[in-house]
Amino acid sequence: MTGMTVIVKTISGWVKVLIFLFGIDIILFGHLTPGGGFAGGVILASSYVLLMLAFGRKFVEANLPLPLASRLDCLGAFLFATVAILGLVFGGAFFTNFLYQRYWPGQALDLVSAGTIPLSNVAIGLKVGASLFLIILTLSSLHRDVGRAEPPGAGKASVARQE
């Protein structure tokens, strides 16, 4: 699968950037408008899915290798847990919104407000985007095996067990 025609490729190259920016927008404004880390993360992932449909899997894998995506996945989850633990350290209890309550209340309805909520949104966005990218790419990399059913009991261990 090497991708589609030049027209599709060019246009999806542009649209991909727009979708990506839209995803970032959804994530960053998650505490003010509808959306948030999950919706934004899925949008980030779908921008790469578009790229995959237009250019083929190889191209996308060169852009964002699978091990890197896996690390980003772990990193996002870890960052979110870190925000929660920081609440324990600075705010007295796990998941305390310490930034808002203690240090930086901010102005309501501003982009930089609400303490740890935007930080959590970014972490979740990173995590969700990376993990969905990972799963779609992994699922489509199985393409080569299609229709080639192994004979039952092909694995060595299962043979040993059945006899």
Binding site: C74, L75, F94, G153
Partner: protein, 504 residues
């Protein structure tokens, strides 16, 4: 001590997030880290015994935010979960060398532990559902870890039934929320106590019974267990049979029945019926099995029947307004059997894994005479078999004895007879295991079988020692008052307990 509660979830979660990053090069480091985590959690669980308290996540008071609750039942379950997970993790060090992708396995293992701990410590119904899903999804993936035909199929079956159960539970939670306007267990309990059970809550209760019954594999809902538990790698089978079905099924169900909805006569009868059915059907299906792990899996169903029977008997006595002393005796029997089963069934699965790794087969008829080749495994297996069959000095005997006494005291002579009968059939079935695996003639192709080494052996001997030592939990009064009695009191006190703890 309740300040330490989030650690039961956060520590394994953070470790699980870090492990896949280490990749295949850091395999030794990953194994070490995972073992440290489970051992630290075990130490923490031991330290939590005898304490109680409420932890408010995010400093929000209980009716707004999520609370974590530490009480007698929670600390008992934490102990059971973390003892078995420490042993199974230690066993995995060597056993999982035969598979690829070990760091990912360790990560999933820790996620499962975190999910179970989360289910046990939470005081919020929806939060219970979320952590139940973590533990379940990790277990679906782990059942299919071998990626062979049977594993995949068992995993699919398990996952479909598990997802149906999750949907039913979520619908039940939605109904509870729609009728009470809250999700906190104590607050919900208070509202239910004031308004009484209406049709919506009764339907929610039946959804919970079916949903958690599916998770616990009680008999009409047991179809997935005999496939899923044998297909998983041995340490995972030990975790699934040992603690997962208890933490996700029995614990969650009894928490909701006793501490949120309050006991009622119909629900108690349903529990007793489920218990007796599981006990009898499980054991008779087990007798005819020739696959070592499959036989153990069927016995899990049967032994879970004992636990549910004890809890149901207690609920019935309480609901009928009978003597709370007999109710607490029945519940004591059920809960003690729960922890006992956690220990001896996980030990049995570990020995079966040890045998399978050494011989390459699980079929009883292909083995024999392993007593000379694998003396330590044999000793561990004999101890566990004696425990599960209820042979006197071991822990299983005491819990079954208490159950029989409670049934007689409550006037259910038939139930007491069935309990003894099932125990005898269990004994018969494990004599068969002993006969075909360890005694008899050593087959030609198994001549060069070797005993399992280091980490596997330590894990098995640790659990075997526990099988003996746990009798002390019931025989030494001070230990009983410290560990078992608080757990029983939580259930006997019922709805009032959760309201009292939450200061509502």
């Amino acid at each position: 001590m309740s300040r330490a509660l989030p650690a039961f979830v956060v520590v394994p979660l953070v470790a699980a997030f870090l492990l896949p990053v280490l990749g295949s090069k850091g395999k030794a480091a990953a194994t070490l880290l995972a073992n440290l985590v489970t051992i630290a959690l075990l130490a923490l669980a031991v330290a939590c015994v005898g304490h109680s308290g409420v932890y408010e996540v995010g400093t929000w008071p209980s009716h707004i935010g999520i609370v974590l609750v530490l009480d007698g039942l929670t600390s008992l379950m934490l102990l059971a979960v973390n003892v078995v997970s420490a042993a199974a993790m230690l066993f995995s060090v060597r056993y999982m060398e035969q598979y690829t992708a070990k760091p990912k396995y360790l990560s999933l293992f820790l996620l499962m532990v975190a999910g179970m701990n989360g289910v046990v410590i939470t005081g919020d119904i929806f939060n219970l559902f979320v952590f139940l899903e973590i533990a379940s999804i990790a277990s679906y993936a782990l059942v299919g870890f071998g990626c062979e035909h049977e594993e995949l199929e068992a995993s699919f079956k398990y996952m479909v039934l598990g997802s149906v159960a999750s949907s039913l539970i979520l619908l039940g939670i939605a109904l509870v929320y729609g009728n009470t306007g809250a999700l906190n267990m104590a607050y919900t309990a208070k509202v239910i106590q004031q308004t009484g059970i209406n049709a919506g809550l009764a339907f929610a209760m039946s959804l919970f019974i079916v949903g958690f019954g599916l998770k616990a594999a009680l008999v009409p809902f047991h179809a997935w267990l005999p496939d899923a538990h044998p297909s998983a790698p041995a340490p995972i089978s030990a975790m699934l049979s040992g603690v997962l079905i208890k933490a996700l099924g029995i614990y969650a169900l009894s928490r909701l029945v006793f501490n949120v909805f309050g006991v009622s006569i119909p629900v108690s009868w349903v529990l007793i019926a489920l218990g007796v059915l599981s006990m009898v059907v499980g054991v008779f299906l087990a007798v005819g099995q020739w696959d070592f792990k499959r036989l153990l899996a069927y016995h899990s169903i049967s032994q879970m029947g004992y636990v549910v029977l004890g809890i149901g008997l207690g609920a019935l006595i309480l609901a009928q307004g009978g003597n709370p002393l007999w109710a607490s005796l029945a519940i004591l029997g059920g809960l003690f059997h729960l922890v006992n089963h956690a220990v001896f069934k996980s030990l049995l699965f570990l020995t079966s894994g040890s045998v399978e790794m050494a011989t390459g087969t699980r079929q009883l008829k292909q083995m024999g005479g392993l007593v000379e080749r694998m003396p330590y495994t044999r000793t561990a297996c004999t101890i566990a078999s004696a425990s599960i069959a209820g042979v006197p000095p071991f822990n299983g005997f005491w819990s079954k004895l208490i159950l029989v006494i409670a049934a007689v005291q409550a006037g259910f002579f038939g139930l007491a007879a069935v309990t003894v009968l099932v125990s005898l059939v269990t004994l018969l079935s494990f004599l068969k295991v002993q006969r075909y695996v360890f005694l008899g003639e050593l087959p030609e192709e198994l001549q060069d079988t070797r005993e399992s080494k280091d980490s596997m052996l330590i894990a098995m001997l640790f659990l075997a020692a526990l099988c003996l030592l746990m009798s002390l939990l019931i025989l030494v009064p001070s230990l009983r008052v410290a560990v078992l009695q608080p757990a029983v009191d939580v259930l006997v006190e019922g709805v009032n307990h959760s309201i009292r703890v939450a200061n509502l």
